[in-house]
């Protein structure tokens, strides 16, 4: 199975509000609230680190969850955020613009 790379879409608006991350999609002005786990993934989405590594190093370490379950959940989350234009997803590293 090939690695999945994720990058934050710079077209969104985002801000931490307490322990939640508020994100507004540029595409349709839809507002999302990400919990602490999802926020961790979004913030680590640098386009260079594979999702599995983000989950292992950031999510499992911080939230003490089972790696396999966490990765499945993360893939589902990433798919959803990608559909709303919040994350870019690719099987190769993603070049970040200026």
């Amino acid at each position: 199975m090939s690695a999945v790379y994720i990058a934050r879409n710079k077209e969104v608006a985002a801000r931490m509000l307490g322990d939640e991350l508020m994100i507004m999609s540029a595409r349709d002005s839809t507002l999302f609230s990400l919990n602490a786990t999802a926020s961790t993934i979004w913030q680590a989405a640098d386009g260079r680190t594979p999702l599995a590594e983000i989950v292992e190093r950031q999510v499992c370490k911080t939230f003490a969850v089972d790696p396999a379950v966490a990765l499945t959940d993360a893939e589902e989350l990433v798919q959803g955020l990608s559909q709303h234009g919040i994350l870019k997803v690719s099987n190769t590293p993603i070049e970040e613009g200026p």
Binding site: K10, E11, V12, A13, A14, R15, M16, L17, G18, E20, M22, M24, A26, S29, T30, L31, S33
Partner: protein, 379 residues
């Protein structure tokens, strides 16, 4: 979406976060609108570096919704540098402009920087009316051209239509223009006093009968006329009144002038501090004036807490009340609106009628009393 924004506001309120800020970059403007509440001289605007630093501070403080306004924002040559910085900080940005200076290049740049929306002032579908209000010949044509360029690029555009005597009959024409341009439409029937307290422009406000007409036009309300104009529900329950805040000003929102002055709201010119001398977050958290605004609940409003409109048919603005002399008092303009909605007088209106008749009595007494007693009787 609305429910989620409300939830965000509740969280921000609980955590003491300034969720929304309006930042005016300049009071300079290429138009001279007859109803404008600003003077258009530059009294020492913040520099590019000062504004960027302020934006950094605001992002750190948790500001999410950023409205960039003026004056005319494009009068600042560094406008796009400021906007780009704001977007790098991931604010949800709304722009307010007259769009007169938006050409292909500016529209492309605004599209690239991805703002939430651009609000454009449009006063009439007739150039002679719009241009007479802005005092800039050709301004309607230019504003509409700017709006079209933005809409063509997929930028969300909203036409803001302030109603006054000069253009009251034209709002349906502006609505049609907005529909044609693919823009949303919002109407504001209130002319506000100038920020320096000058109330002379209030004579531009539409008449009561016209206000009643606006409040019965379902196309403007976003709800049924019956619901919007329903009789007042009675004063707010005492317990609710102790927990209900007059509005978001100073609680989850504030306004910053081009000179760095921080106010609870653009319509609430109570000085609370200046970011040139004090960190934004310190003004927000520790300013005695902000704390005073925050301490006020509906129960603390001596007149409005007794008013039958307190249960929902009043949109009292504490800033307008402040500009009338008492931030805990009623706002006569909002009393007028409540009356226009329901046909039922507000407690503020009754109080004013009583005060007028009392003044009349005092004036009669005054002929036989020294002025000191006259003043005491008025108080």
């Amino acid at each position: 979406m609305i429910a989620m924004v409300r939830e965000m506001s509740n969280t921000a309120l609980r955590l003491g976060i300034p969720l929304g800020v309006q930042l005016d970059l300049t009071y300079r403007c290429n138009e001279r609108c007859v109803h404008c509440y600003l003077d258009h001289d530059d009294h020492g605007e913040m520099s590019t570096a000062e504004i960027k630093d302020l934006l950094d501070q605001m992002a750190e403080a948790g500001v999410f919704f950023l409205t960039i306004s003026g004056g005319e924002i494009m009068m600042r040559r560094d406008f796009f540098e400021i906007l780009a910085h704001a977007r790098r900080l991931m604010f949800c940005v709304k722009l307010k402009t007259n769009a007169v200076m938006i050409h292909e290049e500016e529209a492309d740049r605004i599209r690239e920087l991805v703002v939430e929306s651009v609000q454009i002032s449009v006063y009439s579908h007739r150039a002679e009316v719009h241009d007479a209000i802005t005092k800039l010949p050709g301004s309607l044509k230019k504003s509409l051209a700017g709006a079209k360029l933005l809409a063509e690029r997929g930028v969300k555009v909203m036409f803001a239509n302030v109603l006054m005597r000069e253009n009251f009959g034209d709002y349906q024409g502006v609505q049609a223009l907005a529909a044609e341009a693919g823009a949303e439409y919002t109407v504001d029937p209130t002319i506000t006093p100038m920020m320096d307290g000058d109330r002379s422009i209030l004579n531009l406000n539409i008449e009561r009968a016209e206000l009643e007409q606006v409040f019965r036009d379902a196309s403007l309300l976003g709800m049924s006329t019956e619901e919007f104009c329903a009789p007042p529900a009675g004063p707010m329950d005492e317990v609710d009144a102790m927990e209900t805040l007059p509005c978001s000003a100073g609680h989850t929102a504030c306004y910053i002038s081009p000179y760095g002055d921080v106010y609870p709201c653009v319509q609430f010119p109570l000085p609370t501090g200046n970011v040139r001398t004090t960190k934004f977050i310190d003004i927000w958290k520790h300013s005695p004036q902000m704390k005073e605004v925050r301490s006020i609940t509906m129960a603390d409003l001596p007149v409005c807490s007794t008013c039958s409109h307190g249960g929902g048919s009043c949109s009292r603005c504490p800033g307008l009340a402040y500009m009338e002399g008492n931030m805990r008092g009623p706002s006569s303009q909002d009393c007028e609106k409540s009356y226009a909605r329901t046909g039922v007088e507000t407690a503020g209106m009754k109080l004013r009628q009583h005060a007028h008749s009392a003044v009349g009595l005092v004036q009669i007494q005054c002929s036989t009393q020294p002025s000191g007693m006259h003043q005491a009787a008025l108080a």
